[in-house]
Symmetry: C2
Subunit: 223 residues, 2 copies
């Protein structure tokens, strides 16, 4: 288990549980019991409770009064909606930012895409979400809209949980990387309309592809 050095114990617990859900180690519907988790992590039940409340607000955990918490299972419709919400937030962020993205940030974004290529080649699926958000957020930062960026990031995390399943199974990401490079060119050209349309297509296509993949997986499981 990779507990990174972060500021507090509560954050460590939160990050550990989030990572386990996103990675698929804790499957949809799996119960999350406070006391066994606390014991396993060597902490008191309080930071575990707090983490579960936070993860519930992030949509990764569902809890019912008097019934404890389970890992949230999103339906295919829910997944489509996660990607729609990303588009609602990220397209206006890019529009606000595009005329103020510095050359340095564009250069950095290009380097992230190269790192991304390596991660895809080596099938390091756990790197995908981090690099994807790093690339996107470099383009959004000059919008100067911190709440919108934080919210968009939360929906990236939710989407990431499913995207990893797909990448692990079909080694995707080639389409995505091609679109990232096109988006970067449009940003360099300060083509606001072109970049906004490209980004919307990129996000919604990723959602659709993922849902098609998961629907196929479901079909295969049937007799």
């Amino acid at each position: 288990m990779d507990i990174r050095k972060s500021r507090t114990l509560s954050e460590d617990v939160l990050n550990t549980l989030r990572e386990r859900i996103i990675s698929g180690e804790f499957a949809s519907g799996a119960p999350l019991r406070q006391n066994p988790l606390a014991k396993e992590l060597g902490v008191s039940p309080i930071p575990v409770r707090e983490a579960l409340v936070q993860l519930e607000s992030e949509g990764l955990v569902v809890s019912k009064p008097h019934h404890g918490s389970v890992v949230a299972s999103l339906s295919l419709d829910d997944i489509v909606e996660v990607f729609e919400i990303r588009a609602y937030l990220e397209v206006p962020l890019l529009r606000r930012a595009i005329h103020n993205i510095t050359e340095r940030a564009l250069e950095e974004a290009k380097e992230v895409l190269e790192e991304f290529d390596d991660a895809l080649l080596q099938q390091k699926v756990q790197e995908y979400g981090r690099l994807n958000w790093q690339f996107h957020s470099l383009l959004y930062r000059p919008a100067n809209r911190p709440q919108t960026i934080a919210l968009a990031q939360a929906y990236h995390v939710r989407a990431d949980r499913y995207t990893r399943v797909q990448l692990r199974n079909i080694g995707g990401g080639v389409r995505s990387q091609k679109e990232h490079r096109q988006l970067l060119i449009l940003c360099r050209e300060r083509d606001e309309e072109g970049a906004a349309k490209m980004l919307e297509r990129h996000i919604l296509a990723a959602g659709r592809e993922l849902v098609d993949f998961l629907a196929d997986m479901d079909k295969d499981k049937r007799p």
Copy 2:
């Protein structure tokens, strides 16, 4: 204090603290100490901690490691952003819903506006947020997008905290009600473009008016 009968103690504590922040009883920057709050509410510190974590994810509370929680104070820029996020989420919800809003829902929405008129006349500011969300959500429900609606509601709650200050001070709401009625007519006519534009204007104008009012208030406080 109005602790409504809800499913669990934790929810009661959460609702009570949320209401006190939104109403302005707990001012921006005020410390929220677990043990005194728990004692006052006659509960253990655990549900108070949980409520603070949840309120943090709603943007009403800020906590710093080792420094406890305080009521979040939003800058004027933050407030503008809250209304922008509302527009990003609610305009697509209305577009998805408009062709499927039933006659019955339109009738209900009209009744909510009449109740709203009464509340404004009698300066019942605590009713404003509830009625405002009831009106808007009646129009969004047929979009069949539960996560987007829940997220939009969370941003209504954040906006409400400030809108109440304004209503209490200048008895506003007349412009807002006029716009609500225009919006309802456009929904009746299934005028998607017209309704989308009207709604966007309505949300962003409310934000601008509020920020102008708060900026004026700040100016008056200066020597």
